[in-house]
């Protein structure tokens, strides 16, 4: 985030709308997303900084869930129909394994560091 903000400021200072545009579009892409499609999470493994919000979007024809594989269930989505999304903010560093509670062969990992 710091780097992006710097770039935007820099672009403003330089007065280059082109550079500012590029920086803005990068900023828009910034929230890390996981696509759910064809019975899999993509990317399967995500590495993020603490405090980052991750959004999962179901692009499949079949409902899926995002469920913490650890017993404590720090995060657990409702059933996501096609087009539905679920977000969770990961504050604490660590490795989080998750799966689809309907199709438990679907697994993914979020690494927070």
């Amino acid at each position: 985030m710091m780097r992006l903000r710097t770039m935007i400021v820099l672009a403003a200072v330089l007065g280059s709308p082109l550079l500012a545009g590029a920086a803005m579009s990068a900023a828009m892409d910034d929230p890390p997303g996981v696509n759910i499609d064809n019975f899999s999470f993509a990317p399967e493994a995500l590495v993020i900084a603490p405090g980052t919000r991750v959004t999962w979007t179901n692009r499949d024809d079949i409902p899926h869930t995002v469920t913490d594989a650890a017993g404590k269930m720090a995060f657990r989505s409702a059933a996501l129909d096609t087009g539905d999304a679920f977000s969770h903010v990961f504050d604490t560093p660590g490795t989080y394994h998750y799966f689809c509670s309907l199709h438990p062969k679907m697994q993914g990992t979020v690494v927070v560091r």
């Binding site: 064809n38 019975f39 899999s40 499949d60 024809d61 079949i62 409902p63 469920t67 594989a69 409702a78 059933a79 129909d81 096609t82 394994h97 998750y98 799966f99 509670s101 309907l102 199709h103 438990p104 062969k105 697994q107």
Partner: protein, 313 residues
Amino acid sequence: MTQTDDIATENRRGFLKCMLWAGTGVVWTVAGGVPRSALIGGGAMAATPAGGDLTFVQISDSHIGFAKAPNTDTAATLKEAVDRVAEIKGNASLLIHTGDVSQLSRAAQFDTAEQIVKGAGMDTHYVPGEHDVLEDDGKSFFERFTKGAARGYYSFDQQGVHFIGLNNVQDLKSGGLGNLGQDQLEWLEKDLSGRSASQPIVVMAHIPLWTVYQDWGWGTDDGAKALSYLKRFGSVTVLNGHIHQVMQKVEGNVAFHTARSTAFPQAAPGSASGPGPIKDFPPDRLRTVLGVTKVSQIRGSAQLAIVDTPLGA
């Protein structure tokens, strides 16, 4: 052995043909403890035995609420299946639905399915599919479809046959398959204890109790434990859904069979990149490529002969 080989060959051929088919029910007949099946609408319906034997019908995976390729009207195809059930039920005393009644466990979807299935005018027994327990831990499904069974598993006797409905779609473990869980296994063991080994048993569960295809989760982690309780019985038939295609296997005295969906077909194990609906299935063929499955016992052999034949080209 030639006979067995011939039938095996025919099975394989028939099986490949029937993979093209979706959308009806299966009629089951228990005669002398040996269940036989015939897909609804098939010429094999003539094989329905005279009164006295137990006959029942199976439908599965109606997915009411699913409205995408290759089937945007799953209520209509369920209605067609139920109309056929009503036409051919004869002296059938039961209708069973092996789960995924709905797509998203919504009350309106349950309503629609329940009303359509009532059209068959038959005593109906349901087991939950994973699509039916998405809300309130399955409570709304159990209250409506498995009355008296708070966790969706139950048993009853009908004309000397012991029916067991199982729930293997909840508390699934990451990386795992279907799951019965310790409580249900203990209940099952108790339910079977003291029963005569000569009593025919019919087990209904949504996800196959045997491993059809591990990579796609088509099996039940603790299914083998459940089957170990059933080993001593002379005639056990396990009826599943979930995989939207006919598969069968015989192991000792246990015959496994999965039913087709009334909604949409899924690919044969490993033949596609994933287990979702076959989206590009020609819609006009959903109804025209109906098939017939006939199951009977080869005398003197533990094997069941199962032949699938398509009705249309």
